[in-house]
């Protein structure tokens, strides 16, 4: 009988359950997706041939973080479930059901919901993994191959992890219900809240919070002096500072606003402020967690996208975009697909074979053509390049410019000799020519450019036997090869940053959403009352928007500040971590905003049901 009642209870609240269920499903799906990426060798090896071992380590850190977040998420999701069921269970108990039976019921219900959500979530995760990887690879132009959504070990891990979590959650729910008094279950919503406020303590706490945050930000800003210490200082002070700030500063601000009669006495302001003050008391922990997660997620996306700048470095290290050693119909045809900005060339005559090869170039041409190369040096511990010109003097001295020129030629082991124009003409050998191209939009046309470079190399390597025997061209020195190499490493990081960021974001936003929604039940009466005393539905909606908006905005603001300072850490690794900051920020905030709107909509549905 109780089982039947329980099912009817679920049925009557199927919309709320749908919200809860979809949240859990999403969590399982995200976890599965990350697991496939983290432990699926096909993905890792395909994407990151070079730094496989490092990346694996990074992924493990990612898994740990994700697990912690999932845990927090399930705790809140679970409290939402419990808040929905408390009254029903209280009623059963009042009607004489035995506590043990109710305990059994809640245990089974939690486990069942969790089990179904995990299974469906994993299936969703397989599909999403396929879709997301495709989308990301296309959108970001990532170089990742051989990725398949389904990977059994990841699936097993996900199921085991989630079932363990739900088992714990079920035990916890059972414990909580069995220990509660019937009266508390029935009147859970009317329990008075402690609204007392100790101004002195709160002020001290607020000052402490701000000071701690300031110290943390200072530590991160001075990363260079403090090195790893800044990480520890930052971690401790920012976590504690965030907590104190949420626990005190914001309530002080709200109190001051409430004191301001003019502001507080407008329409529903006093109600919204009252709600917020009451919420902040109960939300301190979750808002702190959300703010820190927000920083982590936004940081991951920002840094991940910034890895793209590594490819800038790759492009900077080589001056010429394409080098053509020999023209052929094939090469010329491909050349039409590439928009060339500038062409320089060098004529030369090759004499001798094997070790005794000599390349003769005419001094006037070298002087006139002003071929360029990228000079490498270090600036603030980071790789930097400056453009230099190859002069006749370089060749005479056989210095860096000479080496660079030699690498541009198809006979790198040959000696280069500078001769006068007249001498050059007198040398009895066939004149050959190398073209050095600068192109427009290297990134966008990368595929065509790479193809051209490949063809150009293939053309000369496959030439007549005699000619080709001494030719060695290291394709890896070409700009397109450098670019591809770095891009594949960067893409891996980019992908992971992006993915982790989005996963964190989804989790943190849904955590906040469930926390807000689990309070809806007790807010219902308040809104009904307000409607009765003459509040317009539009004002009530406005109040909902402002209240939830504040709860979403506060952690976001702190999180953004965290990221702005936290990016200092990456200064040693990335050239400019603050580069194009608006892209990840906009992307992130848009998704966050969507979650906010969804929460508002669902909250309205729960709270203003009768007013519609």
């Amino acid at each position: 009988m109780l089982w039947k009642l329980s099912l009817t209870g679920i049925k009557s609240r199927r919309r709320d359950y749908a919200v809860l269920f979809s949240g859990l499903m999403l969590a399982a799906a995200i976890f599965y997706m990350f697991m496939t990426l983290a432990i699926n060798p096909a993905f890792l090896k395909g994407a990151l041939t070079i730094s496989f071992s490092i990346t694996k380590y990074v992924f493990i850190v990612g898994i740990i973080l994700l697990s912690i977040i999932t845990l927090v998420y399930i705790v809140y999701d679970n409290s939402f479930l419990l808040s929905m069921r408390k009254k029903d269970y209280g009623l059963y108990l009042m009607l004489g059901a035995r506590t043990s039976k109710i305990g059994e019921l809640i245990f089974a219900e939690t486990l069942l919901v969790g089990f179904l959500a995990t299974i469906l979530g994993s299936i969703l995760g397989i599909g999403l993994a396929q879709l997301v990887s495709k989308l990301l690879i296309n959108q970001l132009g990532l170089q990742i191959h051989k990725f398949v959504g389904f990977y059994l070990p990841a699936l097993l891990w996900t199921i085991v992890f989630f079932l363990a979590l739900f088992f714990l959650a079920a035990l916890w729910n059972r414990h909580k219900l069995v220990k509660s008094q019937v009266i508390d279950l029935l009147h859970e919503q009317q329990r008075p809240v402690n609204l007392r406020f100790h101004p002195v303590w709160k002020t001290i706490e607020a000052v402490l919070g701000i000071v701690l945050l300031a110290v943390g930000y200072w530590a991160m800003w001075n990363y260079k002096q403090l090195m790893t210490n800044s990480l520890w200082i930052g971690l401790i002070t920012i976590v504690a500072g965030t907590y104190f700030t949420f626990d005190s500063l914001f309530s002080i601000v709200i109190r001051l606003l409430r004191r301001n009669q003019k502001f507080a006495n407008r329409r529903l302001h006093s109600f919204t402020l009252g709600q917020l003050q009451f919420r902040l008391g109960a939300y301190t922990r979750i808002l702190s967690v959300v703010s820190l997660l927000f920083a982590l997620a936004l940081g991951a996306i920002t840094v991940g996208l910034n890895f793209h700048s590594l490819t800038d470095q790759a492009m900077e290290s080589t001056y010429y975009d394409v080098v053509i050693y020999k023209h052929s119909p094939k090469v010329d045809r491909q050349l039409k697909h590439v928009s060339v900005r500038k062409t320089q060339n060098l004529n030369y005559k090759l004499v001798g074979t094997g070790k005794w090869q000599i390349i003769y170039v005419s001094e006037p041409q070298i002087a006139k053509e002003k071929l360029k190369y990228q000079h490498f040096y270090q600036k603030d511990g980071q790789a930097a390049y400056s453009t230099r010109t190859i002069t006749p003097e370089n060749i005479r001295k056989a210095d860096e410019g000479y080496m660079q020129l030699s690498m541009l030629m198809p006979y790198p082991s040959a000696q280069i000799k500078l001769v006068s124009a007249k001498q050059y003409q007198n040398i009895k050998a066939k004149e050959q020519k190398t073209d050095f191209l600068l192109v427009n939009n290297f990134r966008q046309n990368f595929n065509q450019i790479e193809k051209l470079q490949h063809l150009a190399v293939k053309q000369i390597m496959d030439g007549p036997k005699v000619e080709s025997s001494d030719i060695t061209i290291n394709l890896n020195n070409s700009k397109s090869a450098q670019y591809r190499l770095i891009a594949s490493v960067a893409s891996g990081f980019e992908f992971m940053g992006f993915f982790l960021g989005l996963a964190f974001l989804a989790m943190l936003a849904s955590t906040l959403m469930f926390k807000v929604l689990s309070g809806a039940e007790s807010d219902k009466l308040r809104y009904q009352m307000l409607a009765k005393i003459g509040a317009q539905v539009s004002w009530l909606k406005q109040a909902v928007r402002v209240e939830i908006g504040t709860l979403f905005a506060l952690p976001a603001v702190l999180g953004i500040v965290d990221v702005l300072f936290g990016l200092q850490f990456f200064k040693s690794m990335l050239k400019n971590p603050y580069d194009r900051l608006w892209i990840p920020f906009t992307l992130f905030l848009v998704i966050y905003l969507l979650y906010y709107l969804l929460t508002v909509k669902m909250y309205e549905q729960l709270v203003l049901k009768n007013q519609h």
Partner: protein, 248 residues
């Protein structure tokens, strides 16, 4: 005479057309003059709450007409209805319905704030009504910190602060002990007599009802008998009510 409320041929039917229907109100006629204190009594399920909801604009009748202070409620749209409630109607509920996140002062100020009254004026009015109801010393407290009787006084202050045309009470003494109930009823009687506040109170408690001047008995969705206190004492009127209830 100054007619504050007029109900004409009000019916209310629940359930969709074609499905099983239940008629809660079967044609209610009555009117209320300014400064009257009227009680509505009836057994559970007699339709008194439905009637109160319709009169107080929270629900709409299936047919019939309600006019309050010369406004025909059926001619008002949703927004106008909310506005109307805010200006012309005051409510006291059985379970107080105070917002526990707001101080008592803020609770009382709410109806005025909703009408965008200036802060200084709000303060003045809140202070005045609080003094009238003897709750000026607890204004800075939260509802959780005061007694049930005090809560209902705060609720009454909130219902009256904007000087409504009519005060609706839905079992206002239902959650109070007898001392607090008597206090509240005396206050309501005083407000009615001294300030000409028009009151319509739904109750099933004969003691509460005896404070009214006139009582309408509602039975099976219709108004049956009507009792007038006239010059009788409250004790006699109480006996009369008991007698009337006993006849059913």
């Amino acid at each position: 005479m100054n007619e504050i409320l007029k109900a004409e041929a009000i019916t209310k039917t629940y359930g969709a057309r074609g499905a099983k229907q239940y008629q809660a109100l079967k044609g209610i006629y009555f009117s209320l003059q300014k400064g009257e204190f009227v009680g509505i009594m009836g057994a559970s399920g007699s339709g008194k709450t439905t009637l109160l909801n319709i009169l107080s604009t929270l629900d709409v009748p299936t047919s019939g007409k309600v006019v309050i202070n010369q406004h025909d409620l059926s001619s008002l749209n949703k927004k106008q209805l909310a506005d109307f409630r805010g200006r012309e109607i005051g409510f006291i509920f059985q379970d107080f319905n105070l917002l526990e996140n707001l101080t008592n002062r803020e609770n009382i100020a709410l109806p005025l704030a909703l009408q965008n009254v200036k802060a200084a004026e709000i303060n003045e009015k809140v202070n005045a009504i609080a003094k009238r109801l003897g709750i000026d010393s607890i204004l800075t407290k939260y509802p959780a910190e005061i007694s049930g009787g005090q809560k209902q006084r705060v609720a009454a202050a909130r219902a009256l602060v904007h000087n409504p045309a009519i005060l609706f009470g839905d079992e206002p003494t239902g959650a109070l002990d007898s001392t607090a109930a008597t206090e509240l009823l005396t206050t309501m009687e005083k407000l009615n007599q001294e300030d000409q506040v028009t009151i319509l109170m739904v109750t099933h408690d004969p003691y509460s009802a005896s404070y009214a001047q006139r009582i309408l008995f509602i039975k099976d969705g219709k108004i049956g008998r009507e009792l007038e206190k006239g010059q009788a004492s409250r004790a006699d009127f109480y006996q009369e009510i008991i007698g009337e209830l006993g006849r059913n």
